[in-house]
């Protein structure tokens, strides 16, 4: 295959991936409240309105708060679980691991409906904090994958070296194990954060009528009245995702996190 063909293929795919985003980025530049493209008149007002409009701002704050707390819960569940699987011989613990992965493998509507059934049955349906827990569970798989990978990269002789030098389990955890897996913990948090930020169905089925997150608000705007602000906020979300993954790549080995062999292993 000639180089030219390869390059054209990449350009086509880049266009395919970027085009929708370019269009909504342009739409949000419209001067008037219209979704025209190319934009008619240029104005940054819609971009600013994400932060100045009280309703959008509060949705943004909700989304960020939910995502941050949910990602923290995901990590809090995944970290001890991954540690246990790494440190202990306990075949039944794999069962817990499979449960941790299942919400992500199964169609999301299942987790959403399960959450709806659960919160309705327990009488907490609609409470704002329920989404935090349900998202925390929904995204456990992401930190679980990254942290498990992190543990797998630790050379067990390094731990033993620490032991022979006088470190007990607690000191080892603090001085060796945690520093070594920290990048993986952070990536896991980042993945869960970005996905929670964008998640719609579970949020909708748990707190859809009481708490507006950005995806819920965008969906409502789709149904009940378009505004360029929804385009602006979408662009903003794309930038957040790219920014976060860019940071993960900057401070970690992204190809390795996604399953390639590390650079040194390559021939």
């Amino acid at each position: 295959m000639s180089k030219l063909l390869t390059r054209m293929f990449f350009v086509c795919m880049a266009l395919f991936l970027a085009l929708p985003i370019v269009v909504i980025a342009g739409v949000a530049l419209n001067d008037k409240k219209t979704l025209a493209f190319p934009p008619q008149g240029l104005s940054a007002d819609w971009y600013l309105s994400v932060f100045t409009d009280a309703a959008w701002r509060s949705a943004l704050v909700n989304s960020v708060l939910v995502a941050a707390t949910a990602a923290a819960i995901s990590v809090a569940i995944a970290l001890p679980l991954a540690w246990f699987l790494w440190r202990r011989v306990a075949p039944w613990a794999q069962f817990v691991q499979v449960i941790g992965f299942s919400p992500f493998i199964l169609p999301p509507v299942i987790t959403a409906l399960g959450a709806l059934s659960f919160w309705a049955t327990t009488g907490f349906y609609g409470q704002p904090w329920t989404i935090v827990i349900s998202h925390g569970i929904f995204f456990v798989s992401l930190p679980l994958v990254t942290i498990t990978l992190g543990f797998a990269t630790i050379d067990r002789e390094v731990i033993e070296a620490g032991m022979t030098m006088g470190a007990d389990d607690k000191i080892l955890m603090k001085t060796v194990i945690f520093p070594l897996i920290r990048p993986y913990v952070i990536s896991g948090f980042a993945f869960a954060f970005v996905l929670s930020l964008n998640e719609y169905i579970v949020a909708y089925m748990t707190v859809g009528f009481t708490l507006e997150t950005i995806p819920i608000k965008v969906f409502n705007a789709l149904r009940y009245g378009y505004t360029p602000t929804m385009a602006a906020v979408s662009v903003f979300f794309v930038l957040v995702a790219v920014g976060v993954f860019g940071l993960v790549a900057r401070f970690g080995d992204l190809p390795k996190l996604l399953g390639a062999w590390s650079e040194g292993d390559e021939t």
Binding site: G100, P107, V109, F118, N198, P255
Partner: protein, 286 residues
């Protein structure tokens, strides 16, 4: 350090929190959902305990059959299209320099993490009459006047492929990046053109991976719940949409739950199949 079985009760402490959280907030909700699926619906959007298979019996209606057939067909089509583009793309991606790969991976992750709402909105704008591609074609002179390409089946398919494509690439990525480059080189020294070497050497070597990826992407596409609503007409609704619709708008939780259970069983069967094909766990990756 040798891994040791837990001995003292305190050794179990680390796994207690994850196990309890997942048990209470995933397994129990799941069980409740299964229970509701055999409950009886009562007017006013509620249900009461019962033991009936009436909700499951509704699967036998032509309406459900049509939705099911459409869902499976659509998911299969999406998966096939994604593989068709994704396989050569991933292969070429893994041959790039690591720095360029990272840029692509960031972009793919960015698209993958995008809300279905945003993807749906973006494509509905792109395919709309006022702001869409057709304007571009008019401007270039290919078309007389702008047209709306949404809602419609093509729009649904495009949106789903857009969403599933990054996922496909990321599922294929580990296998392709570990592919022995000497395999290609050996084929080249034997006189194959790159395209032929790819078709005759690389693809057969990846047969199992491709089949497993097809299934994984199939399940992923089966889970799409918004794009068919935003980009399609009611006849393009899938099982996932129907579950949401029954649960929220028709207030028929038992029927929604029964469909969800069906979806679980179908997905698990497919996951099991893909594991059997690859002969290993964790084929799903991230």
């Amino acid at each position: 350090m040798r891994r040791s079985p837990p001995q003292k009760p305190v050794d179990y402490l680390p796994i207690a929190f994850p196990a309890i959280m997942l048990g209470v907030f995933f397994v129990i909700p799941f069980a409740i959902m299964v229970a509701i699926s055999v409950f009886e619906r009562v007017q006013g959007g509620f249900y009461e305990p019962a033991f009936t298979f009436a909700n499951y019996a509704r699967f036998l209606t032509p309406f459900f059959g049509k939705v099911l057939a459409f869902s499976l067909g659509l998911a299969a089509l999406v998966s096939a299209v994604c593989l068709l583009i994704g396989v050569p793309f991933t292969y070429m991606l893994t041959r790039l320099r690591r720095g360029k790969q990272v840029v692509w991976l960031i972009a793919l992750l960015g698209v993958l993490s995008l809300s279905e709402v945003i993807i749906g909105f973006a494509w509905s704008t792109l395919l709309s009459r006022t702001a869409g591609l057709s304007n571009l074609f008019v401007w270039v002179g290919l078309m007389e006047r702008p047209e709306a390409w949404t809602p419609g089946f093509a729009a649904v398919l495009t949106g789903l492929v857009y969403q599933a494509f990054p996922y496909t690439v990321l599922v294929l990525y580990p296998a392709f990046s570990r592919l022995d480059p000497s395999l290609m080189e050996a084929a080249r020294t034997l006189g194959c053109s790159p395209a032929r070497a790819f078709a005759n050497v690389v693809l057969p070597a990846m047969r199992k991976t491709l089949l497993a990826t097809f299934i994984i992407v199939f399940i992923f596409a089966l889970g799409a719940y918004l794009l068919p609503q935003i980009l399609g007409r009611p006849q393009h609704w899938t099982l996932s949409v129907l579950v949401t619709d029954q649960a929220i708008y028709q207030s028929n939780m038992p029927f929604a739950a029964a469909m969800a259970v069906f979806l679980v069983v179908a997905s698990l069967a497919l996951v099991g199949l893909s594991m059997a094909i690859t002969g290993r766990k964790g084929a799903a990756g991230v």
